[in-house]
Symmetry: C2
Subunit: 788 residues, 2 copies
Amino acid sequence: MTATEARPRQALDPADLDRIDRYWRAANYLSVGQIFLVDNPLLREPLRPEHIKPRLLGHWGTVPGLNFLYAHLSHQANKRGTEMMWIVGPGHGGPATVATAWLDGTYTDIYPDVTQDAEGMRKLFRQFSFPGGVPSHNAPEVPGSIHEGGELGYSLAHAHGAAFDNPGLVVATVIGDGEAETGPLAASWQSHRFSNPARDGAVLPILHLNGYKIANPSLLARIPEQELLSLLEGNGYRPHVVSADDPETAHARMADALGSALDEIADIQHNARESGRVSGARWPMLVLRSPKGWTGPHEVGGLPVEGTWRSHQIPLAAVRDDPEQMRALESWMHSYRPGELFDSSGAPLPEVCAPLPAPERRLSASPHANGGLLLKDLRLPDIRQYAVQVPEPGTEHHQATRVLGGYIRDVIRANPRTFRMMGPDETTSNKLDTAFEAGGRAWAAERLPTDEYLDPDGRVMEVLSEHLCQGWLEGYLLTGRHGLFNSYEAFVHIVDSMFNQHAKWLKVTRDLPWRRPISSLNYLLSSHVWQQDHNGFTHQDPGFLNHVLNKVPEIIRMYLPPDTNSALVTTDQCLRMRDTINVVVAGKHPALSFLSMDRAQAHLARGAGIWEWASTDDGAEPDVVLACAGDAPTRETLAAAALVREHLPELRVRVVNVVDLMRLTAAHPHGMSDRQFDALFTAHKPVIFAFHGYPSLIHRLTYRRNGHENLHVRGYKEEGTTTTPFDMLMLNDLDRFHLVMDVIDHLPGLGVRAAHLRQRMQDERMRCRAHTRVYGEDPPDIRDWTWG
Amino acid sequence: MTATEARPRQALDPADLDRIDRYWRAANYLSVGQIFLVDNPLLREPLRPEHIKPRLLGHWGTVPGLNFLYAHLSHQANKRGTEMMWIVGPGHGGPATVATAWLDGTYTDIYPDVTQDAEGMRKLFRQFSFPGGVPSHNAPEVPGSIHEGGELGYSLAHAHGAAFDNPGLVVATVIGDGEAETGPLAASWQSHRFSNPARDGAVLPILHLNGYKIANPSLLARIPEQELLSLLEGNGYRPHVVSADDPETAHARMADALGSALDEIADIQHNARESGRVSGARWPMLVLRSPKGWTGPHEVGGLPVEGTWRSHQIPLAAVRDDPEQMRALESWMHSYRPGELFDSSGAPLPEVCAPLPAPERRLSASPHANGGLLLKDLRLPDIRQYAVQVPEPGTEHHQATRVLGGYIRDVIRANPRTFRMMGPDETTSNKLDTAFEAGGRAWAAERLPTDEYLDPDGRVMEVLSEHLCQGWLEGYLLTGRHGLFNSYEAFVHIVDSMFNQHAKWLKVTRDLPWRRPISSLNYLLSSHVWQQDHNGFTHQDPGFLNHVLNKVPEIIRMYLPPDTNSALVTTDQCLRMRDTINVVVAGKHPALSFLSMDRAQAHLARGAGIWEWASTDDGAEPDVVLACAGDAPTRETLAAAALVREHLPELRVRVVNVVDLMRLTAAHPHGMSDRQFDALFTAHKPVIFAFHGYPSLIHRLTYRRNGHENLHVRGYKEEGTTTTPFDMLMLNDLDRFHLVMDVIDHLPGLGVRAAHLRQRMQDERMRCRAHTRVYGEDPPDIRDWTWG
Ligand SMILES: Cc1ncc(C[n+]2csc(CCOP(=O)(O)OP(=O)(O)O)c2C)c(N)n1
Ligand SMILES: Cc1ncc(C[n+]2csc(CCOP(=O)(O)OP(=O)(O)O)c2C)c(N)n1
Ligand SMILES: [Mg+2]
Ligand SMILES: [Mg+2]
C-alpha cells in the first residue's frame, strides 16, 4: 500500500533500452531544431546566424521530459499491444508532440509536404512558431492531441473524459507540477472515483516534477517527499516515483515503473471485469522527477540553466548574435549524436523507430485523438412521445426540465455507451432527475443503504465541480461521443475560460480537413435568473450568453425555448449537431405552455416568429411590436399584450417570440436577412423587447438592423435578492405592467391619452409589491394568470 | 505526526459545556424559526398554519453544524481572549450566521429594529428569505461576514487573504464537504505554504463532513478515513477529527480538539516569532463529522431525513398543510427547550450568552469583517518620479509594465504591511519583476541556493492559480487592505465567476451604510492579445472587459492607457479608489510613448481627448475621426493618420484617444454628456475606431449616441495564432493600412478618388505578410515606425 521507488524487477532488454534512448535523443534533437533553426537541419555545415530563427519562440524546459515519457509510453504500447493515447498538460511543449509525431511518421501522413527526410526536417523546423507555420503549443494542428494545454489545468479532466466508456484505452496524462497548482487540476485527482474499471478505460496520471513553472519553483516539488506521497495516496493513488537524472538509470527505472503501473491497471481491470470488483480501486500513477530543461545547456553566462526555471523558454536567447551561444547550441544538438539517429537522407534510422507500435497503435495516430473518426450518430427517441398537450396557448402549466428529464432518460437508454450527462450535483435541483431511471449517477466510492441512484454503472455524472463537468464532457466529446452539461445558469460562468478554450479548439479544427467533426457541446442552463426560490443575488446571472457571443459565429448557438415543447425540440436538435457549442436556457418551475409540438417544431425552424393568436395586427402594420425571448419574459409579454388589448383595444399589437437568438443578427449563419427582420419587427415602429438576459445582448445582436433606435429592451439589470418571482421581474422592470408602461412611453402620441392607464400600471406594481411584503408570495392573480 | 481522534486531555468545566450547549440550542431554535415562522416566535401558542411562511425557503442541513462550531469558537475566543473571525463556506447556512449574530447582540446593534425580545425575534424570523427582508445566504447584510458563500469554493482562499498581515487574528473557516470538491477549494489547501507565521495570522480550516451536498453524498465523506487523513496530511495539515452525533460527547470532543488546535497555532506562532522558524509549519485543522440536519427531524413520511441529503433544504416542506408535519415542527422546536434559553420577554437568558466574548471580540462583530473600518489610505510615492521622458510624441519606446514595476516596488516599500500584489507566476513574464526588489515572493516551502526572490516575508504572491490570486486578494481587501492582481489578459477569464460574486458583494454593500468602503480590486492585465510571442491563439482573448461590463456601472472602471506614463497615472489613480473593480490593460513590450507625464495626467482626467498634434482639423469640423483605445490600436491609428496626412493631405482628420472606456457611455458615472460626445466624435462624420478588444464592446457603450451608425470599429475578431505582432493586427484588420482603407470606404465620395491609394494599402498588407513568411519578423519599417 505504500509508494514505491521503482527499481528493476526484471532484467530489461538492453537493446530495448538503447532503442528507447535513441528515440528520445532523436525527439530532443528535433525539438531543439524546431525552436532554433530555419535551415541546416542535420548540421551538415557549421551553424551560422542565418540558420537561426530571428525570433526564438517556444518552451524548451518541459520538452525533454515529455519526449522521455513518449518514448517509454510508445515502447510499452508496442510491447503490450495496448491501445494508448496521451494528453500533455504542459501543452507549451509543442516541439515534443510535433517531433514525436514526425518520428512516428504520423506527421508526414497528415502533412505530406513535411517529409521524413532532410528537406522535410527543414520544413518541420522552420514552420514551428513561425508566421504562417504552426503554433507553439500542442494545438489542434498537432496529430494525436485533444488537449492544447495553452491554459493549464484541464489535462486530467480531459483524460478521464476520454477514458469513460473506452474500456480498452489507456490515457497516459502528463501533469505539469505547475499545472498541479491550479484549481481544476487539484479537483481532478478525484475523477477516478467516478470511473468504473469494468466499463471505462484507465487514466495513468504522470506528475511531471521538473521542479519549476515559469519563473518560480513549483510547490509539489518543494514539499517533503513523504507529504507528496501522502497527498497522492490520499487522492486514492498508488504512486510510483521515478527520479531521473542520469539517462541510463532513468530509462531502466522508468521502464520498470511504467511496466508495473500498466500491470496494476490490467489487474484492476481484470478484477473488475472478471470478479465484479468495481469500487475502491487504487489506481497506479507515476511521478517523474527530472530536471527542467534536461540534457539542455547546463549553464549559460555563468548562471545555472538545466534544472532551473531559466530553461522554461529559450535557454540560449542570444544565439544568433553571440558566437559563444552559437557554439553552445551546436554542441547541444550534437550531444544527441544525430549521426546515430538519421540516415544520410535525413530519415530516422530503423534503430530509432523500432520501438514504434504498429501504425494504428501509435499514440500520435490514436483515432481517439480525432474523435470525429469514431463518432456515430445518437439513436434519438421520437421527440413527439414526450410532447405535452397544449389545447389552448397559455392556459396550462408544465415544467420544461422535468419533461426533458424523461427524454434524456430515453436518450441514455438508447445510447448506453456513448452519451453522458454531467452536472454539479444539480440534476435533481434542476428537475432532471427522471434521467436517473436509466441508470443513476456514476459513483465508485462507498455506498450506503440510504443512498439513491448511486451506481458504479451510472450515466449521469455529478460532482460539485463545474470544472470537472466541463473537462470530462470535453474529453468525452473530443474522443467521439455525445453529452450534455446541466448547470445553474449563474455558475456556468465558472467555466467561462474552459468554454473559451474549447471554442478556440473548434474554430481551428473546422479549418483542418483531417480533423473530423465532433459532437456539439450542449449546455442546458436551468435554475435561471428569474426564479431562484432558496437562493438569491449570487445565483442571478444570465451573462453566460454574452460571454459565448464573443466567439466566432460559426460555432455558437443560443436557444431560449419559451415553453416545454420548445425545450424538447430544441434539445433534440442540439443533440444532433456537430462542431458547435449550444446553449439552451430552460426553466424548471411550472410555467405556461404556449405551443403544441407541431407549433414548437415550426417555431424552432423559424427561430423567431409572430404569435398570431396573441397579436392584433392582422394583415396590417402593427403600431407596436412586443418581442420576447425566454420563458418568464414571454409570459410577461403575453400578459402585457392582454392588458393592452383590454385597455387600448385600438392598438395593433404584434407579438414576436425569439427562440433561436442568433436569428437576430445578420452576422451569424442563422441570422435572418434585413428584409426578414424588417418584415418581422418593422423598420420604424417601436419594439418593446422583453429579454431573459442583459438587455445589451439584444442590442449587440441588432445594432446594425433598421429601426434599432426604436428597439427598447427590458431584461436583467443586475437587481436581485431572495424574493418572489414577480418581485424579481419588477425589480428589473421586466414585469407585464412595466411593459405596458413602455408601450405607452414609446408610442408617439399615446403618452397623454394613456396617462391614466400608465398610472394604473404603476399602482398595480405597488399593489403586487405590497402583497409580497405582507404575504410573502405573489398575488394569486399574477401567479395564476393565464392567457385568454 | 499522525492525526488524532481528539479525546479529553483535561477535565472540561461542565458549566462551560452546558453554556455552550445552551447557546447551540438557542441558535438552532432561532434558525428553525427563521426558516419556518412568520409569527408566534416563542411558541406561546400552538402552531397554526398562519404562523408558517407561505414559501419555505432556505437550507437547514448545514445549519446545526455551523451553530455548533460557532458556539465553540465563540467560547474559545472568550476564554483565550483570541481575536477571531469566521468564514462560512456553505454560505447557504444563512440562518446560522443570522441567529448567532442576534444572540450576540451584534444584529440588534446594527439593525436596532430587530430587538432582542419577542417582537424582535418575530421580525428576525419573518424577514428571513422573505420579500423585502434578508437573503437566505451569508450575504453582506449579515454582520461578521466577508463571504457570502453563494457560489461555493472560495472560503479557504478568502480566509488566507484575511489572515495575511493580521498576526493577531485567527480565521476559523468552515469548509463544506461538498465545497471541498470544487477546484478553487482543492487548490486552496496549499495556501498556508505562502503564509509566514511570524507576520501573518492563522487560518483554522474546519472541514465539515456532514456527508452530503444537495442530493448526493460528498466524496470526502465516502473515502476510507485513512485516505482522508493522508490527503489532509499531504496538504501539510495536522488534522483533528471530531465525530459528533450524541451532543454531549460531541461537545467535549470539540472543545478538546479546538483547544488543541488553538494551542498548536500558538506554538507555531511562538516558534516563528521568537525563534524565527517561519517555514514548514504543520498547521492544525479540524474535521467535524456530524449528521447533516443534526437535531432535526429524524424521519419524515417514513424516509430518513437527519443524516441524509433530504435535510439539505426544508425537511418539513408540507408543514403548513400537513398537521402531522406541523406537530413535528412543534416538537422539533420544543426539543431545544426554548424555556431554558429565552426569558419571558424573549431575550436570550444570561446562561445562554455567558460564553460570549467581550463585544469587540465577538466573531459576529469582528471589525475585520467590515474591513472598511480598519482601512487606511496607502502611502503612495509621487508618480512623477517614475515618468519617462517624452520630448516628442511617438518617437521613443518604453515598456509600460517594466516602469510600473518600479512604482509598485515603492508602493510595497511604503506600505510594507498593507499592500500585496498577486499573480499566477506571471509577474516576471509580465515584466513587473522590479517589484521584487521590495521583498520578493512570499514562499514558506523549501528554498534552494539557486532560487531568486523567494522570501518568507515576500509581498508578491505567486501561485499558479488565478483562483487563489483572486480569492486571496478579495480576502485581503475585504479585511481592509490594498492590492493588485496581475494576470495574462486571456486567463483572467478563469476568475470571471469570482469577479461576478465580488461585484455583487460590492453592489450590495454600497447600500449598507454600516459597511464602510473597502479598497478597490485592481486588475492589471498584460501579455495582452496583441503581442503573445511564445504563445498563440489560446492566449488571445480580450473578453474580460465585456464580462465586466455586465455589472452595475457604479462599481466598474476600465482603463486602456495608450502608453507608459498613462499606465503610471492610471495605476496610481486606481490604487486610491474605493468600492470599485478596476481593470487596467497595459503592454509589456517596448512601445511608443505619446504623452509626457503632464499630458498623461490631463488625458486621464479627461478620460478621452483629441490629440491635437496628430490631428489636422484645427478649428474646423473634421472629415473623419480616427479614434483609438489601447496601446497597439493607438500606434496603428497614428500610423494611419500619418498615411492619410501624406496621401490625402486635404482631409481634415481628428485623432481621439480614449483611456477611460467608461467615458463613452452615458450610462456610467464617468460617462460624458451627449453634447460632449458630439463635440468630440461629431454627430455625423465617420468615426473609425481602433479598439483593443472585441468591437462589440464599443458599440455596446455607444449605441445610444448620436451618429452611432457612422461608427466603424476594428478590434479583435477572434483570429490569431503564434505569429508576429503586425501579422496579428492584419489578421484582425486592425493594422494601419486597413484603417486607411476604412477611411476611404466610409468617407462619402472618397472611394473612387482614392482607389489607387486603397489598392496600395492592400499591397502594403501583402508586402508585410510576405515579409513575415520569409523572414519570420515584421518588416523593419513597421517595427521601427515612429511618428513625425
Ligand atoms: C491557467 C494558466 N495560468 C498561467 C499560465 C501561464 N503559464 C504558462 S507555462 C506556465 C508554467 C507551467 O509550469 P508546469 O506546469 O510545471 O510546466 P513545465 O514545467 O513542464 O513547463 C505558466 C504559469 C497558463 N498557461 N495557464
Ligand atoms: C460552485 C457551486 N456549484 C453549485 C452550487 C449549488 N449548491 C448549493 S449548496 C450545494 C451543496 C453544498 O454542499 P456542502 O458544501 O457539503 O454544504 P452543506 O452540506 O454544509 O450544506 C450545491 C451543490 C453552488 N452553490 N456553488
Ligand atoms: Mg514544471
Ligand atoms: Mg455537506
